[in-house]
Symmetry: C2
Subunit: 186 residues, 2 copies
Amino acid sequence: MKREIPLDKANRLLNIGGVVLITAKSGERDNVTPVAWNVPVSKEPALVAVAIAPERFIYKLIEESREFGINLPTLKILREVYFCGKNSGRDVDKFERTKLTREKAKFISAPLIKECIANIECKVENIYPAGDHNLIIGKVLRAVVEAKLFEDYLNVSLEEAKTIHHLGGSLFTIPGEIIDVKNYIS
Amino acid sequence: MKREIPLDKANRLLNIGGVVLITAKSGERDNVTPVAWNVPVSKEPALVAVAIAPERFIYKLIEESREFGINLPTLKILREVYFCGKNSGRDVDKFERTKLTREKAKFISAPLIKECIANIECKVENIYPAGDHNLIIGKVLRAVVEAKLFEDYLNVSLEEAKTIHHLGGSLFTIPGEIIDVKNYIS
């Protein structure tokens, strides 16, 4: 069961640097794409940034609709995430091919992804040029997370909360143990 | 022994979302500060972004000098990283207090940190407002990494390459196993 968390805690879903699945919809077309280059940028207001190349299909959908979803996948759907990164929404319906389930959002038209452990709804606040990508700044409108996985922070020691972190190519890593620096002796 | 890597591979040091130590120097004063909110944003040109609150001392040094270093710490210096985040360079010399070692950079005046497994030298390309932080876009001038830890990607399965990922408060996680999606059966 997912529950809402305060907007100024949404950064704790992205803080550790996992790949996210970005969803967007414009008119009748929607799409889902993995983005490793995501980062929180402000706590109050709650803002996040995602770097997306302007030639990508998801970029067009976000530019047209001015809103997008951020969905936090885990190891359980690694193959689906990889498929979404290797294929373009111009050619295939990635939801249909991966069997990922669209879930209705509250404030945006883009679908959210049921199989992800957290979902963030954003509207576009700004778009900044940044080399071969553009930085899309999203204002967080709503954030939900699986209740048992988040208690002020994401409990990545649980099997269901293994976020996926992109090393390069087909290689990924997942979080290991949790360390409290206050108890840590090097 | 650290070796240079191609600039368009520098993103692979930040890709997985570890905390970095930002270094900067203006006039006679230098400083070092952990930043969890860092992200690559472009491959060619190689650009990275770091979100830093304008009231922080490191921000002032970067704004004045228009350059900064990105240093990748590991679990081995977690306590030092935490100390640097809990104290301001306005009050203490963090290098002196933590015993972290300044290393001379090639292209920038800011020191690099010897105990970090990778170092990136940047000049400021742009600064964009983003809520309670500003997004500093850095152009990568040079990137070095411990030779045995990086072979096209950061080998986080090695003990010496355990980057630190901030969950919130005093809690961190480190990378566990490496997974090749091509061999992965969920």
